[in-house]
């Protein structure tokens, strides 16, 4: 049984302090990373107007940012597995901050695509909560990991809630260019916050029967394991739901006659309930079956969406739906990352969870895209809402057969 006593033989209070520093610093990185990104939309109008661009220029930069985050996540995870999470977080944070600050001086579309798109996208991959959670997997005892993943996810959720008003206040006080530089400056903190997460690269990561596999072997082992395949397929749905609702819920509410003020409150309720849901999910993930939790979360999403579109849309139903979706929003993250660690240990957790996250990003892309093109094709969101219900049920079903135990060791390290 693991305790909070570190491997180095530190005393209990010392080990507890070390654990506290790891969790607090990881959470602050998650908060900054998620928060600054969520305020990016505020700069669309001033940047486009200042440079005489259409909104498509900024939109393409965000598209680059998102796709590079998704594609970069397994590589950043692999680097964290190899060299330790602290270096990747520090490097990613600096890249992210540089991208945000230089966005202020991007006066040509290609420069904007390089700064807000490439630099921020790659920086996100390095300084995201995915790496933080992988770092927790290395540094914390098993019984604390789910709780820590929950608090890191909740911190990210809180970040997006706090940074948007701050970005707006920065713009009001100093103008949009200085606001971007100030937001970028927050990332100067990341290398310092990453210090408690240093170490834990390579074989120091430990991690059970799969610890001796090379990255390539670990990847082959994972994709040859049915439960991992099911997890990857299920997390695709999470991305689809979140991205579709984030982008298309406000216009949907406007279409059905809900006031912009109430629509904004609905987003706020989702954000706040998400903090509660993420943290609760982390706690529950340490007490009950993660597979069962994920089945419940996806099925509950399907039920919530179905009720929302079947019942008359009223202010009460909007807020109830927002609260339900908020509780279920990022609550998938702690049990999903926990299952990856359970199946394959922590040695390749960054890369393997990064791969699961890539599936999430593909789902997110489709959620935004299909929401747009189907709305244009049929004039409403009904089809995509029902698609979301079906996907929720699909995801609940595919999580059910997942074997919640260590994956069988199919490859021997000597076969490398």
């Amino acid at each position: 049984m693991s305790t909070t006593t570190s491997a180095s033989g530190a005393s209990q209070p010392q080990a507890t302090r070390a654990l506290g520093a790891i969790v607090v610093c990881g959470c602050l990185i998650s908060l900054i990373g998620f928060g600054v990104r969520s305020s990016y939309g505020l700069f669309n109008a001033p940047l486009s107007e200042a440079n005489g661009w259409g909104r498509d220029v900024f939109a393409l930069a965000l598209a680059f940012q998102n796709i590079l985050w998704g594609l970069g996540q397994p590589f950043a995870g692999a680097l964290a597995d190899r060299y330790g999470p602290a270096r990747v977080l520090a490097g990613g944070g600096l890249l992210y901050g540089l991208g945000v600050a230089l966005t202020a001086y991007s006066d040509a579309p290609v420069l904007l695509h390089l700064t807000a798109g490439v630099l921020v996208g790659l920086g996100l991959a390095g300084a995201s909560f995915t790496i933080v959670i992988a770092g927790f997997g290395r540094h914390l005892p098993p019984e604390r990991r789910s709780w820590a993943a929950g608090i890191a996810t909740a911190a990210g959720s809180l970040g997006q809630f706090l940074f948007a008003p701050m970005g707006q206040a920065f713009i009001a006080a100093y103008g949009w260019q200085t606001a971007l530089v100030l937001l970028g400056a927050f990332f100067l903190l990341v290398p310092f916050l990453a210090i408690p997460l240093r170490g834990g690269g390579g074989h120091a990561a430990g991690g059970g029967a799969h610890a001796d596999l090379s990255m390539r072997q670990a990847l082959g082992q994972a994709f040859g394991h049915r439960s991992y395949q099911l997890l990857v397929a299920g997390f695709f749905v999470c991305g689809f739901h979140l991205a579709f609702i984030t982008v298309h819920l406000p216009p949907y509410l406007t279409d059905v006659g809900i006031s912009p003020t109430l629509a904004a409150w609905a987003l706020a309720v989702i954000g706040l309930a998400n903090v509660v849901g993420s943290y609760s999910s982390g706690i529950l993930g340490g007490r009950m079956s993660k597979r069962t939790m994920l089945c419940f979360i996806y099925f509950a999403r399907a039920v919530a969406i179905a009720l929302f579109i079947l019942l008359p849309v009223t202010p009460a139903s909007v807020l109830a739906f927002a609260a339900a979706m908020g509780l279920l929003w990022l609550s998938t993250v702690p049990p999903t990352s926990g299952l990856v660690a359970l199946m394959f240990g922590t040695r390749h957790l960054g890369m393997l969870f990064g791969m699961v996250f890539l599936s999430h990003q593909v789902g997110a892309f489709l959620g935004v895209w299909l929401g747009g093109i189907l709305y244009e094709a049929v004039g409403n969101y009904d089809l995509v809402w029902w698609m979301s219900v079906a996907l929720g049920i699909f995801s609940a079903i595919v999580h059910w057969p997942i074997a919640e135990r260590e994956a069988p060791h199919r490859l021997s390290p000597a076969a490398a």
Binding site: L28, Y40, L42, N44, I151, L242, M288, L330, H360, Q361
Partner: protein
């Protein structure tokens, strides 16, 4: 083993989470107070402004403060303690502050931005919790 052994986080874990959340909120409130102070209009400003009074200020008191500062209350905003007021006499903002206002602003957009892991809503014409502008 089909499921992990039950492990109950110790209360200290929840305490740490609460302390972290409270600490972050305290820093955020301090930073927001400072930045909003920076965003406030200078005392010599006149024209149409958004006046912010201390939360809980009675409507009658806020109305009287605007009149006392030589201005005309144009309308109350969604937030009871913020009013749109106008005066063409220089020094209007300074007089408002002397009459009890926290500050006056040209515009104060406040609203949530929701982000999934991938999507960021870049629609700046989207909903705002409070659209506070003169």
């Amino acid at each position: 083993m089909d499921r992990p052994a039950p492990a109950v986080p110790r209360p200290a874990g929840h305490g740490m989470a609460l302390a972290l959340g409270a600490g972050v909120l305290a820093v955020w409130l301090g930073a927001m107070a400072f930045v909003l102070r920076e965003a406030a209009l200078p005392p010599e400003t006149d024209g149409t402004v958004l006046v912010v009074f201390p939360p809980g200020t009675p409507d009658g008191r806020a109305f009287a403060a605007v009149v006392e500062a030589g201005g005309r209350p144009l309308r109350q905003t969604d937030v009871g303690f913020a009013w749109v007021a106008r005066s063409d006499e220089p020094g209007f903002v300074g007089r408002l502050e002397a009459a009890g206002a926290l500050g006056a602003f040209g515009e104060l957009p406040i609203g949530p931005q929701l982000g999934g892991c991938m999507a960021v809503n870049a629609d700046t014409g989207g909903p705002q919790t409070y659209r506070l502008q003169p």
